[in-house]
Amino acid sequence: MDNNKLIEEKFVVEINKVDLIFNKNSKKEFKALEKLDIKIRNGQIFCLLGPNGSGKTTTINLINGLLEPTHGDITVLGMKPSKSRKTVLRKISLVPQETALYNDLTARENLLFHARYYGVNRKYISKKVDEVLGIVQLKNRQNDRVGTFSGGMQRRLALARALLTEPEILLLDEPTLGVDVQSRNAIWEQIRTLALEGKTVILTTNYMEEAEALGEQVLIIDKGKPVKSGSPNELKRYIGQKQMIIHFTDTTYAKQVYDYIAKDYDVTFKGNQLNVNTNTLNIQFQLLQQLSKYEKHMSHLDYSEPNLQDVFLHFTGKELRD
């Protein structure tokens, strides 16, 4: 109990001012990560959001000890992963971006192989395999070759493999890459359940919906540099930009109103509609009162909330995905 508390107060993963440089001191030198700072609490779903090539997999490889930071330091459960590799690897499981399954083995054979190689107690292997197949709902396909599985099923099987060894920390590198909406929802549900059971989940994604749906803590990275971190709500609040969208019956009225309010509000004019940034309820009331005389020329009102896409755009000046 005390032990748990200790871990809870400390961070399970701490990355301090880490730089990672590939092929250092050669012509091909490439800075993949720069001044990366990450602190992850026990039981949290931490989400690394960034476009292709931003350094997500590189960060995952730092945590599992495949890479060592060029500068700065990293601890996982209080240990350096590259030094105490075996101990760290006993506590974490990775679902790699490329799933790493044998296409010519069946789902069950894949899991059996992994459990045996890992050294799961032989008495429990079969039971454990049944259990994880149940979790990811692949029991009825367990004797089919993985090569015949859809992308979503393969990702679920890879998740099952990671669960075989009862990890404390789950590293999921793009767990829903190339998966259809239904499979995606199923995977999200499984990830939430795992987090509820107390596992720390670290996942990378370049889908902002995923970060919004799962991430308790989100770090946006771009070109290896951390851009901004916080909960999805904090991030959105940070850039504010709740917008009221006023639709007019005619462009001329929209233009008239634009000229009337432009000096007092942050407003953009788009055809017969005006987008006004209105972050507080107060501003919204005030604006509506001012516009009461135009009421009969207004067709309807919309509100829009910012999403992480906007956050990304705001901080980097470019879209998250092309």
Binding site: T57, L66, R85, A100, Y102, L105, R116, Y117
Partner: protein, 376 residues
């Protein structure tokens, strides 16, 4: 560790059974090669010889002229490297040529007085093909010489063979073919088993277990070993039927030498796997390496017979330095039952060193490759 190795072996055997293409290739290539080799008979050309000449005079000169003149459509029968007695013995003793003909001091005097004279032919009779060639060619020279003298058998030859008995050519080649088969199978199976883990991008999930990659590689070696044993068991009867290979005479020592070649091939296979990370190029490259071993090191003691000048000599020099050449000869002596050279410690040590070096390089390469991100 043991369970991890077992897991790899079981998984890989299952995959081999489901996707047997590479194992079939690594069996078919040596089988076809052996069959073709048994069918296609080689031709021999000019044979180098050194002459230790102690005699002087017109008879001697005429005899040497004849030795130089006799030829077939393919070229001269003999290439005389030297006539100097000291140099001749030096070259023969250093095994730079396989045959030495000694003309005694009394040769000229005996002939001019019509007396009998005897030549001495020393042959390093590593295979029956070479021995036969020298004997027949010298006989032919003597026949021509007698004809020109209008005499009959005034000169005889005393033969001095290094080994009690020749190695039959078929059996000589068979040892090379056997080594070729062991090397090729171990290279292809270890190489493709390794490369598959990259090709299917499965290496990462194995490396990221607390067991690391050591059971992975040991497991691959065990699987490749089983495949090689199966292949060898299929190849041996073929060698026996087609080329009369004395499989009954394969002692424990011979099997130990074959094990060395398996280790050599599988270390090379690991290197190929790490280097290419793709299964496809591994097969042709292994065939090239296996063929070179067969042609250069397994035939080294055969090439020596005509390796004087040009590409052949260059190739032979390479072969004579290559660690496996002498071991292959040792295997031949053993299966032929030549006791005098049953264990050649020097060669064994050299070969073991070479195999150990290959394994160490392979492990270093692998460690580097596996402890580094795969850029995905």
């Amino acid at each position: 560790m043991f369970h991890s190795i077992l897991a790899i072996v079981c998984k890989d055997l299952l995959l081999i059974i489901r996707k047997p293409m590479f194992s079939i290739i690594s069996l078919l290539v040596p089988l076809l090669f052996i069959i073709f080799y048994a069918l296609v008979i080689h031709t021999s050309s000019t044979n180098p010889i050194v002459i230790a000449n102690h005699s002087e005079g017109p008879y001697t000169d005429r005899f040497i002229d004849i030795l130089q003149e006799i030829k077939s459509v393919e070229g001269p029968y003999l290439e005389i490297i030297t006539l100097d007695s000291e140099l001749a013995f030096e070259k023969y003793n250093n095994r730079q040529v396989d045959a030495l003909l000694e003309i005694p001091k009394s040769f000229e005097k005996n002939l001019s007085t019509g007396k009998q004279s005897a030549l001495k032919l020393k042959v390093f009779n590593i295979n029956s093909d070479g021995t036969k060639n020298y004997q027949l060619r010298i006989d032919h020279a003597l026949y021509e010489f007698h004809k020109s003298l209008n005499e009959e058998s005034i000169i005889s030859t005393n033969e001095d063979m290094t080994f009690v008995q020749d190695t039959p050519m078929k059996s000589y080649v068979s040892t090379g073919l056997l080594i070729f088969s062991v090397l090729l199978t171990s290279m292809v199976s270890t190489g493709t088993l390794m490369a598959r883990e990259w090709e299917e991008r499965t290496a990462k999930s194995i490396v990221l277990t607390p067991k690391g990659f050591l059971p992975l590689i040991v497991g691959k070696w065990v699987t490749a070993f089983l495949v090689t044993v199966v292949n060898t068991v299929l190849v041996l009867p073929l060698l026996y039927i087609l080329l009369g290979y004395p499989i009954g005479q394969m002692t424990t020592l011979v099997w130990f030498y074959l094990l060395l070649f398996f280790l050599y091939g599988s270390a090379a296979g690991v290197l190929l796997g790490v280097l290419f990370k793709k299964t496809l190029p591994i097969v042709p490259i292994s065939v090239v390496i296996g063929m070179s071993e067969f042609l250069v090191s397994s035939l080294e003691s055969y090439i020596r017979g005509f390796a004087h000048g040009g590409m052949t000599e260059w190739l032979w020099r390479l072969g004579s330095w290559w660690p496996s050449s002498e071991i292959i000869d040792t295997i031949r002596f053993t299966v032929e039952g030549f006791e005098q050279i049953a264990i050649n410690w020097g060669a064994l040590f050299y070969m073991a060193l070479w195999v150990g070096l290959m394994i160490i390089i392979a492990l270093i390469k692998l460690n580097k490759q596996l402890s580094f991100t795969q850029g995905q």
